[in-house]
């Protein structure tokens, strides 16, 4: 096994983990604070990517486009919360699942109407497009390194926001006991809208960051949102710290499994059997992880202490 390849795949896993964290942190906040199951979180990821692609075309600058697309995605998130989600907080999870499933259909079709069935590519600026020579002779795309850096910076920012600011204090109060927080004078309705918009911004940011690699396409959020849910469950619902650890863990397990599982299996079985079973098993790895976590530690790895 080549050490350079392992290092490159570790970085790829880290990059996937960082993206998953951006999606899962919003999801886990919405889950933990509003007790709301939001399947349509992946749609906000897609909306962010499309906004960014259009704005990059219009302004010619990727960074400016991201800066403009973030508040636009926040507005979409807030509108969804005010129009639909708000009416569902008191309902059971089945209603959440169904209504947000309907939202997915609406978003996917609206994007198709507005942007057409073809995906949209985003051209990277020259400074982000090259390769970097890392210590140890490793060559890795600059942009993927930027994703990792930006994602970790956002994670740090979120940590500061939640633990050190007044808004964060309110969010934590809302998470541990919304009724009591409301009685103490916090505008719970506004807080919920803000949290939902914050989640939308982070999901949208994830979409904007991945779009230059994969391009923005319809339904792009529908696959990754399931993985993000796995992250939330494994990390413990409502725990941002748990989401961070679980996102990196799952990003690494998924990437490393897809790259190296066949080699590992070859130690145990014949080469042919390993080659046929490795793809199936590596695609199932994260779900096996989630099922085992739920079987042995149903509250997740890092359940929030307050609940």
């Amino acid at each position: 096994m080549d050490a350079g390849l392992v290092a490159a795949q570790l970085l790829n896993g880290l990059q996937l983990g960082v993206l998953l964290f951006l999606l899962a942190s919003g999801l886990t906040l919405i889950f933990g604070i509003m007790d709301f199951v939001n399947l349509a979180h992946g749609s906000l990821y897609m909306v962010g990517a499309y906004f960014c692609a259009t704005l990059t075309d219009a302004t010619g600058s990727f960074l400016l486009a991201v800066a403009l697309a973030l508040p636009a995605t926040a507005l979409v998130g807030a509108a969804v919360e005010l129009l639909v989600v708000r009416r569902l907080y008191r309902r059971d999870h089945l209603d959440h699942v169904l209504a947000t499933f309907g939202l997915i259909l609406c978003f996917d079709t609206l994007v198709q109407i507005l942007w057409g069935p073809e995906g949209m590519a985003i051209r990277l600026p020259a400074w982000a497009d090259g390769q970097q020579h890392l210590p140890g002779g490793l060559v890795f795309p600059t942009y993927r390194l930027l994703i990792i850096g930006a994602g970790l910076a956002v994670a740090a920012g979120l940590y500061v926001l939640v633990t050190k600011t007044r808004l964060g204090m309110r969010i934590r109060a809302g998470a541990s006991n919304p009724a009591m927080a409301g009685a103490l004078g916090i505008d719970i309705g506004l807080l919920f809208t803000l949290v939902f918009a914050l989640g939308a911004v982070m999901a949208g940011l994830a979409g904007m960051m991945i779009a230059p690699i994969t391009e923005a396409s319809i339904g792009m959020g529908n696959e990754i949102i399931i993985t993000a849910f796995v992250v939330v469950i494994v990390g413990g619902i409502g725990s941002i710290r748990g989401a961070f650890v679980a996102a990196l863990l799952i990003g690494l397990i998924d990437t490393m499994g897809r790259s190296f599982l066949d080699m590992g299996l070859k130690l145990l079985m014949s080469a042919q059997a390993a080659e046929t079973s490795a793809p199936a098993l590596s695609a199932m790895l994260i779900y096996i992880l989630m099922a085992s976590v739920l079987a042995f530690r149903p509250q997740g790895l890092f359940p929030p202490k307050t609940r």
């Binding site: 399947l39 309907g102 259909l105 399931i226 796995v230 695609a283 779900y287 079987a295």
Partner: protein, 307 residues
């Protein structure tokens, strides 16, 4: 009232296909065959979702297992229908028993997510087995062969599927009226009370979950026979969402609810997709409106219940 509509619908389904053929519209027989198969699958889901309160978000996996229980033997040129049915029922009940034993230890949203995770495992396992077509699916060149009946004839196939639907309805009806059904309904209402009354309802739930899986596997085998083409797409998580929608649209816990829901679902799909290529938008909006304003589903509306 909803019972009467249900019986009317059954009568229409019993008489419809020969009339459609006589009118020179074989296309409608195809739609009705699909309807009957999906209605049987939704009825089996209603046993655990509506009566048992177990929100399984992975029920489409059993459709897939049933369909591949026909497709994989057919790939090896084994066409014996009884064997296909044995495989479909055996493998789906085994899968339901094994996954249910773990999933039923969890509650609420964890249950939703773990059932979905198990379904995703099956999905990805099938996607990555290239021998059976992987992503591209598998063509079934000859349908299951039974003595005396010939499923290659579209009308015979239809009545075979219809018989499966009737059998599923009858079984679910008898079951929920029995002591067994009372236990799972009681456990849905109040677990602690059932436990203190001395019922070990975990076993009842597991039995219901397994039976629902087996019944759904059977309808999946019929669906596979009907489409002649099976692919992992049949068990995509959005398919599980659609099954839940059928149950809720019709009315959870009502005997004919899933049948009405499946009929309304397919009718809407046909009408809207004939009207616009963007049919998923009104479809999604309708789904949201049903959740917001018509919680009893169609059965509830017919009984004059609201919200």
């Amino acid at each position: 009232m909803s019972r009467a509509v249900g019986w009317l619908l059954l009568a229409a389904l019993a008489a419809g296909p020969p009339l459609a053929l006589a009118a020179g519209q074989p296309f409608y027989v195809d739609i009705l065959t699909r309807l009957v198969c999906l209605a049987a699958a939704a009825t089996s889901l209603n046993l655990i979702l509506g009566h048992g309160g177990m929100i399984s978000f992975g029920h489409a996996a059993y459709i897939g297992i049933g369909a591949y229980a026909v497709g994989i033997p057919a790939y090896y040129e084994i066409y014996d229908g009884w064997l296909h049915i044995l495989f479909a029922v055996a493998f789906s009940s085994l899968f339901a028993l094994a996954t249910g034993a773990i999933a039923l230890r969890t509650r609420g949203v964890y249950f939703i997510m773990i059932t979905m995770a198990f379904a995703q495992m099956v999905f990805f396992a099938v996607v990555s087995i290239e021998e059976y077509g992987g992503d591209d699916g598998l063509v079934i060149d000859i349908r299951s062969e039974f003595p005396l009946v010939d499923l290659e004839d579209s009308l015979t196939l239809y009545y075979a599927c219809f018989a499966v639907l009737l059998g599923t309805l009858y079984l679910v009806h008898r079951l929920v009226r029995s002591r067994f059904g009372m236990v799972i309904e009681g456990a849905r209402g109040n677990e602690r009370r059932m436990a203190s009354l001395g019922f070990a309802f975990y076993r009842h739930r597991l039995a219901a979950y397994t039976l629902a899986g087996a019944l759904c596997g059977l309808s999946g085998a019929m669906l596979g026979n009907f489409t002649n083409f099976i692919s992992p797409e049949m068990m995509d998580w959005t398919r599980s969402g659609e099954l839940i929608f059928m149950v809720v649209l019709g009315g959870t816990g009502a005997l004919f609810g899933p049948l009405m829901g499946a009929a309304a679902f397919l009718l809407l799909e046909e009408l809207l997709s004939g009207w616009t290529i963007y049919w998923q938008l009104p479809f999604g909006l309708l789904l949201i409106l049903v959740v917001l304003f018509a919680r009893g589903g169609l059965a509830g509306l017919l009984e004059g219940r609201r919200g």
